[in-house]
Amino acid sequence: MFFDEEVSGQIKERFSEMVHPVKLVVFSQALQHPESEEVKRLVEELGTLDPRVIVEAKNFIIDATQAKDLGVTRIPAVAILRAGVDGGADKDYGVRFFGLPMQYDFGVLIDGIIDVSKGESGLDPATIEALASLTTPVHLQVFSTPT
């Protein structure tokens, strides 16, 4: 268990902000990357805290096609998708987390889940308007450490 009762309660409280179900597709591979199994277990435990957090655990080797489709080139990795409802397709906003989501980064992962669930950026309208003018893809990478 990663979360004691107090932390579980805090996470549940955050998840109460969710609007749409979210699918967390976690990629791991026990033999080559034992640490990735830790992330898998953590994400699976998150899925027990709210029925709207749907977890799909994938093997990075066996499920290589899905990894490629989701742009997952390394593990551990979590793709945060807005889950499709009533048989609809999942919505992929291109939000990913790579590595061990501990300490500060754990909060970031939770924030990402909430934001994807809402499907609203919360950005300034002028920023949204400017981003709507983009015609070429832009990839953002934010590097952090657990401290």
């Binding site: 640490e35 742009g71 390394r74 551990p76 906003y93 291109g94 939000v95 990913r96 987390f97 790579f98 590595g99 061990l100 989501p101 501990m102 980064d105 970031v108 992962l109 924030d111 990402g112 934001d115 994807v116 499907g119 609203e120 950026s121 919360g122 950005l123 300034d124 920023t127 949204i128 400017a130 981003l131 709507a132 983009l134 015609t135 070429t136 893809p137 832009v138 990839h139 953002l140 990478q141 934010v142 590097f143 952090s144 450490t145 657990p146």
Partner: protein, 70 residues
Amino acid sequence: MRLAYRFAIASDKITADGVEVTGFPDLARRYRVSSVPKTVVGETAEFVGAQPESALLQHVLDVATPSSLS
């Protein structure tokens, strides 16, 4: 990192990776990550530390439309 995620949610053209870099020393070397948080925009722009929404937007627009720099 959350701001990058929000940019991705706002635009289908943007993808956002949060990377806990200690497990990926190759990325730390490639992007010269010595201080965090470090944000890399495309492959050409980068900054260290938190920046306001307007600053990240400008980086994104500069990378997406490099001619605007001239």
